[in-house]
């Protein structure tokens, strides 16, 4: 079961990522202990030189993690033909207990990586690299997260058995299911719609406001994350229904399938991009008072906020078009 090209590729990417972060760990500890930009000592010069290497390594790892998420979901969807009872990625991920934890871990690492990349970017723009220590400390925090992704993926892929009868999305995302997914599916459509548009509108407004005025950066991150949740809840509770034109099919994964013209990618790519940019804005805010970053941070965070605003707008527009074009009548008669 593990002999699937995409699985080998994912495991390869995760293993290399963990190996690179492990290789960077002694250096990170060294930086945290001895970094002193004002010193001209031999050690400091060595450290400065090596930061180039390890920053590049870390950027490489983070970029890999962003791509891995896409490949992971894509692969889960493709593999659904191999499991009895699976109709889309849900069945594949549900084939054993490790599938959804692996996906959630991968998503968490995705957003952490986005935050780290933003911090790294501003740090490299300042002449005195003021955030080097913080950056490498964060790398040490990220290492267990990336290692957890590798471990969960290994567990998940190694325990995949084709003879397991898994459950399809119909049973996980149904109004009668207990738990979070069932509750999301059971949300009354009107209330869910109001919450969906209100939260997304708020996220768009804060991001646009920040892009214009440079104020309220932390709120961009908060509303972005809230919108991410609201958007997923909205997709499960009503957007998916409109796409399938079926009043009880709540699956957020079937929309990725070619039968529905890959409409899901039009929703998820802007949503993840917007949220990642929002998280990036939030990640750099604590450092905006650092002297050498007074110029750098507002410029970057305004740009990220602008991307977030446009992406949220795009996501909302796509969802609205899908709702308007659909033949399903969910509200009223």
């Amino acid at each position: 079961m593990i002999f699937q090209p995409a699985i080998i590729a994912l495991l390869l990417a995760s293993t290399v990522s963990v190996a690179m972060l492990l290789a960077a760990t002694p250096f990170a500890l060294d930086v945290i202990r001895h970094w002193n930009i004002t010193s001209g000592s031999e050690r400091q010069l060595q450290l400065e030189r090596r930061t180039y290497l390890f920053s590049t390594l870390a950027v490489f790892v983070m970029a890999t993690q962003l791509l891995s998420l896409l490949l992971f979901v894509f692969n889960a969807d493709k593999m659904s033909v191999m499991f009895v009872g699976a109709m889309c990625a849900v069945g594949t991920l549900n084939a054993n207990a490790w599938g959804f934890p692996a996906l959630i871990a991968q998503m968490t690492v995705f957003f952490l990586a986005a935050g780290w990349l933003a911090v790294n970017h501003v740090d490299s723009r300042a002449p005195d690299y003021p955030l080097t220590r913080i950056k490498y400390a964060a790398l040490l925090v990220l290492l267990p997260a990336v290692a957890a992704v590798l471990w969960l993926q290994l567990k998940y892929f190694a325990n995949l058995r084709a003879d397991v009868i898994t459950s399809c999305c119909g049973s996980l995302f149904s109004e009668d299911t207990k738990g979070l997914t069932g509750d999301m599916a059971a949300l009354p459509p009107l209330a869910a719609m109001v919450a969906f548009y209100a939260t997304l509108g708020l996220a768009f407004a804060t991001a646009a406001f920040h892009a214009q005025t440079g104020r309220g950066g932390v709120w961009v991150a908060v509303t972005s994350l809230a919108s991410f949740g609201a958007a997923l809840a909205g997709i499960i509770s009503f957007v998916s229904l409109y796409i399938y034109e079926h009043p009880h099919h709540h699956c957020p994964f079937c929309i990725l399938k070619p039968e529905y013209d890959w409409q899901g990618y039009w929703l998820y790519v802007p949503l993840f991009l917007a949220t990642a940019c929002g998280v990036g804005v939030g990640a750099v805010q604590p450092f905006r008072r650092v002297d050498s970053l007074r110029q750098v941070i507002p410029a970057l965070s305004a740009r990220l906020a602008a991307i977030a605003a446009v992406s949220f707008l795009l996501f909302t527009a796509v969802a609205t078009i899908q709702i308007v074009r659909s033949n399903l009548v969910l509200l009223g008669s």
């Binding site: 090209p5 080998i8 994912l10 390869l12 290399v16 690179m20 290497l53 590049t56 791509l67 033909v81």
Partner: protein, 378 residues
């Protein structure tokens, strides 16, 4: 946004010019890289095309095939069984199938005898598959004599040869009339080889299979989706084995890339030194080197992938055929339908570009941190 793009554009410009200046040095790497992509892409494209072909053929298969078992072995369907299950709710059509294998000592190959469901073959004639026609040199109008398992000799006239397009499924096939089939194999009257059931609602297939297993405990229902899944896993597995074998090549390539990237010529070192002396930062050099790697891998990826596409879909993948396809005496000749799968391209990209970039990171950094004065003084 625009200054950033502007900067990258200039870096790419510069990198392209510097690549063009040292064509010979990069050509070797490019060729090896393209070859690696070619090998991997051929295996993947071929496996996917086979998977696709199998899926297409099986789409026309009956939803359920029912076999009778005796002591765990496949046995004939006795009279009366078809009547027992034909009234079952949800089953659209039931028909008994007649087929069997015949070993021909002349060409040392197994043939598949089949009575078509509409029994449209004239007694005394055969319709044969294209591979068989080639092997025995048969054409419509000629005849063939076959010795049956009972020892008697039977002569048939060839009514037609099946079209080449169906060869994947019909290479070793002989279509025969029911009367001839029963006589040739001394098949007991009213017995069948197995039963094919068509079910209208795909969601019902599993329930009907359960009911069949309950109604006829000595039988085994085989579902079409199970066969499809088995085929898909077989080809996945073969593809995985190929990739696992080729992973040694990926590793070797990564080592080559590392070596190539770290062995900077004096000329290149001087160039980096001068660039730094005129104000380039270490970060800029890393970016330039990164673009160099990205351009090389992109070109190699495109060249390798296109070559693999031509190799698989225009020449029938002669290099990987025996491993991925399997073999037999009467092997079908067929042209694969070109199919490209997005996941596959993404996977291939991960397999080739990712190790290359990972392997060149450290050498790139080594090159970028060289001190300008140290280089220029030598």
């Amino acid at each position: 946004m625009s200054p950033w793009f502007e900067k990258q554009r200039h870096l790419i410009d510069f990198t392209l010019a510097s690549l063009a200046r040292r064509k010979g040095r990069h050509l070797g790497l490019l060729v090896v890289f393209a070859l690696l992509v070619f090998a991997l892409a051929s295996a993947m494209l071929f496996a996917h095309a086979l998977r696709h072909e199998a899926q297409q053929i099986l789409d026309g298969a009956p939803e359920i095939v029912l076999q009778k078992l005796v002591a765990g072995r496949h046995d004939l369907i006795p009279p009366g069984t078809i009547e027992r299950i034909s009234g079952m709710r949800g089953v659209q059509q039931v028909h008994g199938r007649l087929w069997g294998y015949y070993y021909d000592p002349v060409v040392k190959a197994n043939y598949t005898f089949l009575v078509p469901p509409d029994n449209s073959i004239q007694p005394g004639t055969l319709v044969i598959g294209p591979a068989l026609a080639r092997q025995r040199g048969l054409a419509p109008g000629t005849g063939i004599s076959l010795r049956s398992y009972s020892g008697a000799l039977y002569s048939f006239a060839i009514a037609a040869v099946l079209p080449q397009a169906s060869e994947l499924a019909s290479a070793d096939l002989l279509l025969v009339s029911e009367a001839d089939f029963r006589a040739f194999f001394s098949y007991p009257a009213d017995h069948y080889t197995d039963i094919a059931l068509s079910v209208a609602n795909p969601a019902e297939v599993r329930n009907i299979a359960n009911k069949l297993a309950k109604l006829l405990p000595d039988s085994r229902p085989i579902l079409r989706e199970e066969i499809q899944r088995t085929y898909a896993s077989i080809f996945d597995w073969r593809e995985g084995i190929m990739l696992a074998l080729l992973s040694a090549a990926i590793l070797a390539f990564a080592i080559l890339a590392w070596d190539k990237a770290s062995g900077l010529s004096a000329d290149e070192k001087r160039e980096i030194g001068i660039l730094k002396a005129i104000g380039w930062e270490t970060g800029d050099i890393i970016k330039m080197k990164f673009w160099e790697g990205a351009l090389i891998s992109l070109i190699a990826f495109l060249v390798g992938f296109i070559a693999a596409y031509v190799h698989v879909f225009h020449f029938g993948a002669p290099l990987f055929e025996p491993v991925l396809k399997g073999w037999s005496v009467l092997y079908p000749r067929f042209v694969l339908t070109p199919v490209i799968d997005g996941l596959q391209v993404a996977t291939l990209f991960f397999f080739t570009v990712f190790p290359f970039l990972a392997a060149t990171l450290v050498p790139i950094w080594r090159a970028a941190v060289t001190d300008p004065d140290a280089v220029m003084r030598t």
